[in-house]
């Protein structure tokens, strides 16, 4: 339904309650930018709506807090909006990737909380890697959207945090990390699937950007396997040659 402009301000109440459909909401928001009186009215009505929300408070299920805090620990934040254009930095991958951020957000907006964990990792991907990352991304989204997807984080010996998102139904997992110590150029972090008496290579961690590594996808594990990580010579090895700095059970 389209209202003449002069009637738009009558939508302040429905807007404050999110009772407009998407089209009308957009239209009203454009109007809102130029209507100080409506802004004032929406602000007051939204505060009243907040009282309605406060009164509905209920305890979130067990595990929500841990999952959210684990995700927060590895999720980058949007920069504030500044009035002047931010200076363009042409060196380094992070700012370039950051410009693609909104598109990636849209692409993965539908998936669960763990998406942002991986978005953190995706930020670390350089621009020319992004196209192949999109396909990779698709696969990651499948894991994240799996109804049985579970997330777990664990500290890494020597510093940093490892986060794993697992779908047993898809038999796929995603590994990301934050804050791992920098390695010598001749070394690499290697992931392992550790079973009883066996260690299968599960990929090498990419170079971190802003302390976070892009997601590594692994498959072919069993419920008993643990996620392991060692420091290995560049290029990786076929079996661990150093003591693992991480051994974490896969979340069930």
């Amino acid at each position: 339904m389209r209202l003449p402009r002069r009637d738009l301000h009558s939508l302040a109440g429905p807007y404050a309650l999110d009772a407009l459909d998407a089209g009308e909401r957009d239209r009203f928001e454009r109007h809102l930018e130029r209507c100080p009186r409506c802004q004032d009215e929406v602000r007051r009505m939204s505060q009243t709506a907040t009282a309605l929300a406060m009164a509905a408070a209920a305890e979130p299920p067990a595990g929500v807090k841990e999952r959210v805090l684990a995700a927060v620990a590895v999720t980058p934040q949007l920069p504030p909006v500044t009035t002047r254009d931010r200076p363009r930095v042409s060196l380094g991958a992070a700012p370039r990737a950051a410009r693609r951020y909104p598109r990636l957000v849209t692409a993965i907006a539908a998936v669960a909380v763990a998406a942002a964990v991986v978005l953190g990792g995706l930020l670390a991907v350089t621009r020319h890697q992004l196209d192949s990352a999109q396909a990779h991304n698709q696969e990651i989204a499948t894991v994240l959207a799996a109804p049985d997807a579970r997330i777990a984080s664990a500290p890494v010996t020597g510093g940093g945090t490892a986060t794993v998102v697992v779908s047993h139904a898809e038999n796929k997992l995603i590994f990301t990390s934050a804050g791992l110590p920098e390695l010598a150029p001749t070394q690499v972090y290697e992931l392992w699937l550790l079973g009883p008496g066996s260690a299968r290579p599960a990929g090498l961690l990419p170079e971190p950007v802003a302390g976070k590594t892009a997601p590594v996808l692994a498959s072919g594990f069993t419920a008993e396997d643990k996620m392991g990580m060692t420091v290995e010579p560049s290029g990786g090895t076929s079996s661990p040659t150093t003591t693992p700095i991480l051994v974490m059970p896969l979340p069930e």
Binding site: D18, A19, T48, T50, A51, L52, A56, A57, V68, A112
Partner: protein
């Protein structure tokens, strides 16, 4: 924030939340945890009320809280307090979800079964907090159409044309009942 009147407890608490959210925007995870303690319950309760399904509500509240972390730098205290900012995101997400579900499942069915459902559960499932008790009394002071318009829209996630249809009232009437009802609620609740 300038205070035109002496800040009541609610207002002071809001100012604290604003300060917390400002710290969150600078990457302070401890501040985020403190914010979580204050707002996760209202966010979850609200989402649960709109979506009803516990599993989906759990998923959405996690998304919302992470969005709060990610976008905290966009919070502008001049446009309203931190609680309003967070709970607006929570409500928007819940409503978007319930509407996309409804679009997939067939709108008619949902519309036909909802009229009675949303009517009483406002007071039913809310916790016996002072907030809830005060709200219950204030809602009781509204006219039936004002109260039902507001609760169907806000807790039910309906658009105002849907509310008009459910209550068999003209569109223009619903808009004015929502506005009048919210204004009366605000006076009754003493929302600044």
């Amino acid at each position: 924030m300038e205070a035109r009147e002496a800040p009541g407890p609610a207002k002071r608490a809001d100012a604290d939340l604003d300060a917390l959210l400002t710290l969150v925007a600078r990457g302070d995870q401890g501040a985020f945890e403190a914010l979580y303690e204050r707002l996760a319950r209202p966010a979850y309760g609200l989402i649960r009320k709109v979506l009803r399904d516990p599993a989906q509500s759990e998923e959405v509240v996690q998304e919302v809280l992470l969005e709060v972390w990610r976008t905290a730098s966009r919070f502008d205290p001049a446009k309203g307090g931190a609680a309003t900012w967070v709970l607006t995101i929570a409500h928007r997400r819940a409503v978007d979800r319930v509407r996309s579900e409804a679009a997939a499942a067939g709108r008619e069915q949902r519309t036909s079964q909802a009229a009675g459902a949303a009517r009483d559960d406002v007071a039913d499932s809310v916790e016996a907090t002072l907030d809830a008790e005060l709200l219950r009394r204030c809602l009781a002071g509204l006219s039936d159409v004002q109260r039902e318009s507001i609760t169907l829209a806000y807790y039910g996630g309906y658009t105002y044309p849907e509310v008009a249809k459910l209550l068999e009232v003209a569109l223009g009437t619903i808009k004015s009942r929502i506005r009048d009802g919210l204004n009366r609620l605000r006076d009754c609740l003493g929302v600044s």
